[in-house]
């Protein structure tokens, strides 16, 4: 064999191994789930409760993330100040934090005896082991995905657009609403889809901070875990649903964030 001839086939082999390894579990879920037991499992009120709770909790978390995260991302993208890099790193920390650590941290902060949770409890509000706690955990782990996407999108807006808006008589608030947010919308939506994907799959932080109580804090991933030993078919069916949800979210993130939108924006300048 001539020198160097082996390299290209080796690359292809590596890709084949990677693809097989990464898709095999997903394929296995669908191979082992017949449409019959999928529908059967979805008849189980516990499974439906888990899916319904996942939908409500993730949407509520996303609403909080967008409301607070959008102005945060805009500030980080358009202003420079001392400690900017540090603030960005702190905001990104939950991305690399082990979910179990996030759960323990949330308990220590917002739990019944936590440094802030104590005072919340005095006011008669409970977060830990309640549905509200699920929303808190999801918000914590998913927020950085949105903020990063939105920040990049805001930063890539041509500064002269924002300045033009000001010279045309628009206040900074109006410039934010009429120019910055619409221009950054594709990137923000892509970040939102990723954040949603992360929230739907959240397991560790939720389990530790909110527990796994049916109908109250048991989201779909927790329901899967609970049924593993007793009802593997139900676990498979729920998994299949989550694969479809996650795949759809990833695809929409790709479509929204793909180069075409950015190219169109750039061409418009």
């Amino acid at each position: 064999m001539k020198r160097g001839r082996w390299f290209a086939p080796a690359l292809v082999l590596a890709l084949a191994v990677t693809l097989t390894f990464l898709t095999l579990p997903v394929v296995a879920i669908f191979v082992r789930t017949t449409p019959g037991n999928l529908i059967g499992a979805l008849d189980d009120p516990g499974v439906l409760d888990a899916l319904w709770l996942t939908l409500r909790a993730t949407l509520l978390a996303l609403a909080i993330i967008v409301l607070v995260g959008t102005p945060t991302a805009y500030l980080l993208a358009t202003r420079s100040f001392r400690g900017h890099a540090l603030v960005v790193t702190l905001v990104e920390l939950p991305l690399v934090l082990p979910p179990a650590v996030a759960g323990v941290g949330l308990l220590a902060a917002l739990g019944p005896g936590g440094i802030v949770g104590r005072h919340i409890a005095d006011a008669g509000l409970r977060l830990a082991f309640e549905t509200a706690g699920v929303v808190v955990a999801l918000t914590f782990v998913a927020a950085p995905f949105f903020i990063r996407g939105a920040q990049t999108a805001f930063a890539s807006i041509d500064r002269s657009w924002l300045e033009a808006s000001r010279t045309l008589g628009a206040s900074e608030w109006r410039t934010f609403v009429r120019i910055a947010v619409p221009a950054a919308a594709p990137g923000m939506l892509a970040g939102l889809a990723l954040a949603w994907g992360r929230a739907v799959g959240e397991f560790g932080a939720t389990l530790i901070f909110a527990g796994s109580f049916r109908g109250r804090t048991q989201t779909a991933p927790l329901a899967i875990y609970e049924r593993l030993g007793t009802d593997f078919d139900a676990a498979l069916a729920l998994s299949a649903v989550l694969v479809v949800v996650s795949g759809t979210l990833l695809l929409s993130a790709k479509l929204l964030g793909r180069d075409e939108t950015t190219r169109a924006l750039r061409a418009a300048r």
Partner: protein
């Protein structure tokens, strides 16, 4: 009258040695006139424009427009950009890509709240520029010339108190530029408000500005009409900037009232200007005539330098001839004059011009 006065350090303070420099300038544009601010890139032209618009706050400065004070750092008084009402045309036009053309123009409309009203007024404004059929187009589908008109229409729709234009023609190709320049000159004449226009091109400044201020290194080095600047440049920089040929040498008094300049690198030139010592000599390319080398014809041309042709470039009905003599020279001659000379790179010729067309500036 728009008056901008600013003294501030540009670039980050820590980089004062490399790139950071002090901007120190006063500009005045009376109502209905255009002051062209001309200079090389990095001279501080756009910075002055941004200070006027309120997009940048100088360490020390005062901006007045008519009877309004927009900025006075001495009393800490500052109006936000949106309160100043100045029509700003950005270098790349900064049209909002997510809005159709008419919404771009309607963006700064004052007093109209109903959508139909806003659209009608925006289209009226577009009609003035002959592009009302583009009302529903997206900016990215427009040509450079169309974008420039939309940007102007958008700036004028706010009924601005002053117009600020940042290199408004630089994004256009050479063919569009001539017509866009004529249109822009007409708009500036009709607007009736003071205008400040930034350009790095002296010709553009001469065409569009009633007066021209040349800025270099953050300072205004000369102000006047374009004709004044070309006829009597205050420095070698201004002479070079106006497009004149600039040669350096040492001057001493010669016969009669003439000054003789021993040119660096060889050769002698005479001028009617009186200077002694190191000088920059400037002469406009169209003052320089070419004749075959060797055969000197007695005439009124006191200056004659033997030179080698480097380049021959047709510009419209004229020909620009680049020469090495040994300092570089440029002559502009008519195509008719070209024919008898057999000009081509490498041919030796003699460049001649009058002593009266020769300006001297002390170095």
């Amino acid at each position: 009258m728009l008056r901008v006065e600013a003294r501030t350090t540009l670039g980050s303070p820590s980089s004062a040695t490399n790139g950071g420099f002090t901007l120190d300038a006063v500009l005045e544009a009376p109502a209905g006139t255009c002051l062209a601010l001309a200079g090389p890139s990095g001279a501080g032209k756009s910075t002055l424009l941004r200070i006027a618009a309120g997009l940048l706050r100088p360490a020390h400065g005062r901006v007045e427009c008519g009877d309004e004070v927009w900025l006075d750092t001495a009393t800490n008084h500052e109006l936000a950009p949106e309160q100043r009402r100045c029509g700003y045309v950005f270098q790349d036009y900064a049209l909002f890509g997510h809005m159709p053309v008419w919404q771009n123009v309607a963006y700064g409309l004052r007093g109209a709240t109903k959508r139909a009203d806003r659209r009608r007024r925006a289209v009226e404004m577009l009609e003035r520029f002959g592009i009302h059929d583009l009302a529903d187009a997206r900016p990215r589908t427009l040509s450079g010339g169309e974008r420039q008109r939309v940007a102007l229409a958008r700036a004028l729709a706010t009924e601005p108190r002053a117009l600020l234009l940042d290199e408004p023609l630089s994004a256009l190709d050479a063919r569009t530029r001539a017509s866009a320049s004529r249109e822009l000159a007409a708009v500036l004449r009709e607007s009736g408000v003071p205008a400040l226009l930034v350009t790095h091109d002296f010709t553009e400044a001469a065409v569009l500005g009633d007066r021209v201020a040349v800025i270099d290194g953050g300072r205004i080095v000369q102000q006047g009409t374009a004709g004044e600047l070309a006829a009597a440049p205050a420095s070698a920089f201004v002479a070079d900037f106006t497009g004149a040929v600039v040669l350096t040498g040492v001057a001493h008094a010669g016969e009669g009232d003439l000054t003789v300049v021993e040119l660096d690198g060889g050769g002698v030139a005479t001028s009617t200007d009186r200077r002694t010592g190191p000088v920059a000599l400037s002469v406009h390319p169209w003052e320089i005539a070419l004749e075959p080398a060797g055969e000197h014809v007695e005439g009124s041309m006191q200056n004659r330098l033997e030179a080698e042709v480097l380049t021959v470039t047709q510009v419209g009905n004229r020909v620009r001839v680049g020469l090495a003599s040994p300092q570089p020279l440029v002559a502009e001659i008519t195509s008719a004059a070209l024919d008898g000379l057999h000009l081509a790179p490498g041919v030796r010729v003699a460049a001649t011009w009058k002593a009266t067309a020769t300006r001297l500036v002390s170095l």
